[in-house]
């Protein structure tokens, strides 16, 4: 079954990614929603959640020291490249990257690498379809692996329930979590603001996405914020042959809708009709 996977990313945070994803959902046929912003999942705020299942997510293994066997020889402290073991032989969980060099060199076998639960994946039911989201314990790494887990769970759900669309709320930035959000998708939507900062971030995230052969569409949110900013973005898009699918003017009513936990495209339907949202939805839904 060929599943239409669409990801919405932004490079820079706070451009309106989640609001856009939420606005798209009611117009998609039988979607599975995947919230891949595992550091700060927000879609559940708008869709509510009836969590059906949650499973622990194990990230990297971490070093655990058996005090009874430890002779405080200090070899592990010396050899750890991540400064994760202190002079008094205490492991900093946040610094440990699970390489197991310490386990290997410990002369008394006092160190063992143990699985660490660093987050959870939730499978919930919303009004529009199943939603998968996850939470990574603050400060943990392996968000890329957790994103992959969310994607995998969403795909399995789609196949099980015969749904053909997965809409993915991606993470901000350009690191492993974003890369994991983009892989294997058919379409990428990049949401940006018409600011010089936004342009700078667009350049970076665009370079990242270019390595992947996906259809890319640009959405400019708060497009009336700055004419200079807008011109800068439009020029870049023109140079790079990037299509601007949607320009959304700033509208306080949208903020109000979100504050009231309502989906903007339904609550402010007239506004969305006016900006050509229907055409954008058609592009999202199209499979060829």
């Amino acid at each position: 079954m060929d599943i239409n996977e669409i990801v919405v990313i932004s490079g820079k945070g706070g451009t309106g990614k989640t609001t856009l994803v939420a606005s798209l959902v009611p117009f998609l046929e039988n979607p599975v929603i995947a919230d891949c912003d595992v550091d700060a999942p927000d879609l559940n705020i708008l869709f509510g959640e009836t969590i059906r299942e949650s499973k622990d997510f194990v990230g990297l293994k971490r070093a655990v020291i058996n005090e009874d066997l430890c002779t405080k020889c200090g070899l592990c402290h010396q050899k750890c490249k991540f400064n994760a073991i202190s002079e008094d032989i205490k492991v900093s969980f946040s610094k440990c990257e699970g390489c197991s060099v310490c386990e290997y060199i410990c002369p008394t076998g006092a160190i063992k690498m143990k699985d660490c639960v660093v987050g959870q994946v939730f499978d919930s039911e919303t009004e529009y379809g199943p939603m998968v989201h996850a939470r990574l314990i603050p400060g943990e790494e392996t968000s890329g692996k957790l994103v992959s887990e969310v994607r995998k769970t969403a795909k399995a759900l789609a196949e099980k329930t015969g749904r053909e669309t997965i809409i993915i709320d991606g993470s901000p930035g350009i690191a492993c979590n974003v890369i994991a959000s983009i892989t294997g998708v058919k379409k990428t939507v990049i949401v940006i603001e018409p600011t010089f900062s936004g342009l700078h971030d667009l350049e970076k995230v665009h370079r990242l996405v270019q390595n992947f052969s996906v259809d890319i569409m640009i959405v400019i949110n708060k497009c009336d914020l700055s004419e200079d900013g807008l011109n800068a973005i439009e020029n870049y898009c023109k140079e790079q042959d990037l299509e601007i699918a949607l320009k959304i003017p700033f509208n306080k009513d949208i903020v109000k809708s979100v504050s009231e936990r309502k989906i903007p495209s339904l609550e402010n339907k007239e506004f969305f009709d006016g900006i050509g949202f229907a055409k954008f939805v058609e592009w999202i839904k199209k499979t060829d």
């Binding site: 392996t142 890329g144 692996k145 995998k152 890369i179 892989t183 294997g184 270019q210 992947f212 052969s213």
Partner: protein, 124 residues
Amino acid sequence: MIIGICAKETGLNSPVADRFGRAEYYVLFDTETKESRTIENTAKNSASGAGGRAVRLLDENGVNVALAPELGPKAMDAIKAFEISAYSYGESKTVKEALENYEAGKLKEFKTNSTESHHGLRRV
């Protein structure tokens, strides 16, 4: 000769997997004895480098030919370095079908990685 096929479930009737390095299982078919067995893909939960690790797993199990949906760059490097031939199973839906298509000479060999890093992506 042993052929390894990426699979979602166990056995010859299993649907084929849509990933190589993170397939759930590999079904191994011995062309001489005509017997098959399924092994779990221990590489699938790797934080990174699943493709390369999966190839090593296949090599450890004596696989000479791999049938896969796609091969990312690491998997491709590993396939070459371990001297395993890899073929794309194309439209095959099940392990059995993929094997039949391979034996009928219908499958195309991967000469270079079919996708860029991270699955399913072709360079524009």
